[in-house]
């Protein structure tokens, strides 16, 4: 399951975050001086206690919060001063942590909204998404609000894939799911990566997330604490105590 770190090392740098300070208000930075790289083809897991700024960091990457200083470079182009839609157009997709589907709109309407400009490949991508998430096909005319938590998560993921991203940012894909579904979601994340998408995911289920990812990043109080490959983090007794201590459902705080 653990993919080798070495093939990531050979991957080219896709995203580079340098000394990023970001937040919801200029005078109240949440993410403080974070620098990190993301390599093509890897799964990178973002760990940290509640309120650490994990969600804010990935929102900062896709332009949804204010970048106060520092910058983000995606494929050699600075994106930190772009509008969100300009960043998404560069094939970055983002799945929010909560309220990530349009509850009143149908499943297929939700999926359509994920597609951006390229209408030609639309059918093909829709087919791929239905193949990965057969449930969505079954419920395509149902309003998204009537789906179960797990199905909503699939819809949110599927919708992000409709944009044909090369970089996917997922905020807590396994939150609120039963253990069996949780593993299924991680499997799907692996499949998505297999199809050539680089993935950054925020997770609280540290052990399960690290076991499918290449590297892990630990954030606390808005600052970067550690960047290491997943295997090392999984074996680190200190990490084990904080994150895997009392079983997978406990959230560190």
């Amino acid at each position: 399951m653990v993919s080798s770190f070495s093939n990531v090392n050979s991957g080219r740098e896709m995203l580079k975050v340098s000394n990023l300070v970001a937040g919801y208000r200029r005078d109240l930075p949440i993410v403080i001086d974070v620098s990190m790289e993301v390599y093509e083809g890897e799964i990178l897991t973002l760990l940290g206690p509640n309120g650490a700024g994990k969600s804010t960091l990935i929102k900062g990457i896709c332009g949804l919060v204010e970048v106060i200083s520092g910058n983000v470079v995606f494929q050699g182009v600075e994106i930190s001063n772009l509008e969100t839609y300009e960043i998404i157009e560069r094939r970055v997709a983002y799945v929010p942590q909560t309220q990530n589907v349009f509850a009143k709109l149908s499943v297929s309407h939700n999926l359509d909204l994920g597609a951006i400009s390229n209408v030609k490949a639309y059918e093909e991508r829709l087919e791929k998404v239905f193949m990965l998430f057969p449930d969505l096909w079954k419920f395509k005319d149902t309003s998204a609000g009537k789906l179960s938590g797990g199905q909503r998560q699939m819809l949110a993921l599927g919708r992000a894939l409709m944009a044909d991203p090369i970089l996917l940012l997922i905020d807590e894909p396994s939150a609120g799911l039963a253990p069996i579904l949780r593993n299924q979601v991680f499997q799907q994340v692996v499949e998505i990566r297999e199809s050539g998408v680089t993935v950054i995911m925020v997770e609280q289920n540290a052990r399960a997330a690290l076991s499918v990812s290449d590297r892990g990043i630990i954030l606390a109080n808005g600052r970067l604490r550690r960047v290491q490959n997943s295997k090392e983090l999984l074996e680190d007794p200190e990490i084990a105590e904080i994150y895997f201590g009392a079983g997978p459902t406990v959230r560190a705080s």
Binding site: L64, T84, I87, E89, A93, N100, F102, H109, D112, L113
Partner: protein, 312 residues
């Protein structure tokens, strides 16, 4: 018999101006969730544009009297009120919803004041009169020219209806509804929310302007009196009662409320002595207000609710 018929024709012609405005509001409020409280203002911009372009030359104005064909007046009315929508949209659409309402309301009032005070163009309270009406110079009988006018109205409404139906079913329209549901989420999906809102706003304002132009060339006389905020409120009641987010609902609501408005008018004339009729006119507002409240309590989605799954 002919009396009733000509009354009905008159009724439906005036109703058309409301129907068109209600369709224009539907794309803004019904589908995109933008609370534009300046409908009367955009309606007025259209009316004055067509009046100035198609109307006669008045001795006391410095601008106007171009005597252009009516169809040109209407096309220009759409364009000018669309541009007005663009300017207002650029200023207000980044504001929060409640600020949008307040500022569009203020802008509509200001436009009315402009019409009242820029006398060298609008003749102020005296208004612009003797405006041309289509077919009026061909047929002597007002009945025949009204029949022709009603046909024009029906054609225009049909065209707008089908164009809007296509628009809201298109990917563009689907994005509008996602913005109405959750603006931030739509942005997170990479939609340029501001551009979409601006486009829907301009489209709606252009349609309202066309309604105004058609009004001007029907009644043949316009003055700032015709563009009071009550018009805006009427159109909202029509759309909400008919069913926001449903173009057919926008049409049905306009007919129902305009019928109610006209009926209460006749009723008031019938039961109230002439001395009190001005005061009694306020009763109409109360009646229509009550219908709105009852509707909101018992069937908030309107007579024809929005269709859940509009397929693409």
């Amino acid at each position: 018999m002919i009396d009733i018929l000509s009354f009905l024709i008159f009724f439906f012609i005036v109703c058309s101006f409301y129907i068109i405005s209600s369709l224009g509001l539907n794309i803004q409020y019904g589908f995109t969730g933008m609370f534009n409280v300046g409908i009367a203002g955009f309606f007025a911009v259209g009316a004055y544009t067509s009046a100035i372009l198609t109307g006669p030359n008045y001795a006391d104005t410095i601008f106007g009297g171009f005597g252009l064909p009516i169809i040109l007046g209407w096309v220009c009315a759409i364009i000018v009120s669309g541009i007005a929508g663009l300017l207002v949209g650029l200023i207000t659409l980044k504001l929060r919803e409640d600020f949008l309402a307040i500022s569009t309301f203020g802008i509509a009032i200001s436009l009315q004041l402009v019409a009242l005070n820029v006398e060298s163009v609008t003749r102020g309270p005296n208004g612009l009169y003797a405006l041309p009406k289509p077919f009026a110079h061909i047929f002597d009988s007002p009945f025949v020219s009204n029949v022709c006018y009603l046909i024009i109205c029906i054609v225009v409404i049909t065209m707008i209806y089908y164009a809007l139906e296509r628009a809201v079913r298109s990917p563009w329209g689907r994005v509008l509804r996602s913005i109405r549901e959750d603006e931030v989420a739509a942005e997170a999906l990479g939609k340029n929310v501001f551009m979409y809102r601006l486009q829907a706003f301009i489209l709606g304002c252009g349609i309202m302007g066309l309604a105004g132009a058609m009004y001007a060339n029907f009644v043949r006389f316009i003055s700032p009196q015709d563009f009071l905020p009550i018009f805006t409120i009427q159109v909202y009641v029509m759309l909400i009662v008919g069913g926001k987010g449903n173009n057919l609902g926008a049409i049905v609501g306009a007919i129902v409320i305009w019928a109610l408005w006209s009926a209460s008018d006749s009723l008031i004339n019938f039961i109230v002595t002439p001395d009190f009729q001005t005061q009694a006119a306020a009763l109409r507002i109360i009646i229509v207000g009550m219908v709105l409240v009852l509707m909101l309590v018992f069937k908030p989605s309107g007579i024809l609710p929005e269709k859940k799954h509009v397929s693409g």
